[in-house]
Symmetry: C2
Subunit: 215 residues, 2 copies
């Protein structure tokens, strides 16, 4: 069966996946871009944004696992837009005309709307569904490939709680946000279900690779 994978999910040392005060101008709230500097320095990011250069060390190697083998993504409403995007009928996500997904993307929201076809193979679908039901829909759309769970922290936590995640790559950045949305809340003894590998890299971040024991 196709796998459910989380990639490049970045948290602060105190475990916050996003800051407080998310808005149109601050998608990660008061965290700003501090969580993702490690990724901006990689060739993975340069290639995605059409920029030259980029490092090809361990940070890149981890980051570049984001795309291959993925046939669909599931994301939470908080990743698709700033608070209140459901009231804007023209909102089509943060990513411009050609979003970096290139697959069907299922946005979990209590206020679904018609699907939006973008350039480059991305189509946004809107689902009011449980994690298990959303996963079944995404798996069918993925055509045998894996399903990426795109975040944010609440959605990742919900899928972890239901035992639906096969691989998870978390990147821990040495900053302390102090407030925001935590990834780890309510996940006591999660390590019993996963093999966990930790790898610190010269950029200062620590990659945590979770592999489900029973899959």
């Amino acid at each position: 069966m196709s796998k459910v994978r989380v990639h490049n999910f970045t948290v602060s040392l105190d475990g916050f996946g996003t800051g407080e005060g998310q808005s149109l101008s601050n998608p990660f709230g008061h965290a700003g871009e501090r969580l993702h500097q490690w990724m901006f320095a990689t060739r993975f990011w340069a290639e995605m944004t059409g920029a030259p250069g980029g490092d090809t060390g361990a940070d890149h190697a981890f980051a570049a696992m984001h795309g291959p083998g993925i046939g669909a993504e599931i994301m939470g409403a908080g990743k698709f837009g700033p608070p209140g995007w459901q009231d804007d009928p023209d909102w089509k996500g943060w990513w411009g005309a050609n979003p970096p997904f290139h697959t069907p993307v299922f946005v979990l929201t209590h206020r679904p709307r018609p699907s939006i076809e973008m350039e480059g193979g991305t189509t946004f679908h809107f689902l009011d569904a449980s994690p298990a039901d959303a996963l079944q829909t995404a798996r069918e759309a993925a055509g045998g490939l894996d399903v990426r769970l795109g975040g944010g922290p609440t959605v990742v936590r919900d899928f972890l709680t239901e035992g639906l995640v096969d691989h998870m790559h978390v990147v821990q950045v040495p900053v302390l946000l102090g407030r925001g949305v935590r990834l780890w809340d309510g996940l006591e003894s999660l390590e019993e279900a996963y093999d966990i590998e930790a790898v610190s890299t010269p950029s200062g971040v620590t990659h945590l690779a979770f592999t489900a024991k029973t899959r």
Copy 2:
């Protein structure tokens, strides 16, 4: 001036320095010994407990920094004994007749008692004092050597908040405790005051070395 140092302070992936339900039989509450397995495997631990063997890799190298150059320790009431030890006039700490400190140790408590001289150079003193005042007392007792801040999490946090910590070694273990006492609460932007180095080791833990920028 002598430094204030934290060593071998171990937290779970979700940031808890101790579990819930601390008691005489469970000093770390429901965390049990899960936080400290990495240390039990080192030669540092073997030497302290009189056992043979022990690894001498990176985990040992970090752990063994605990002793050299230290002239006094400050610890919180929660490290000295289980909840309620203040009601037991005979309580002399967890560590037996010859505790592994071999210096003056200042126990912060709102209910001070007379000092207790143990074997091997350890004397427990009891202080009802602010972090800064306790530090001044400990520095005088340390005779020019450094002061170790021994924990628990609340005490470390209090000293960090007041900018009193020069070096801090935190060990992050890949378990999720879910509940207990967090180290990181209320420390937003702590990274601005420290250089932080992260080093993962083959045992699966990640050592985080904090060095104050201005000292």
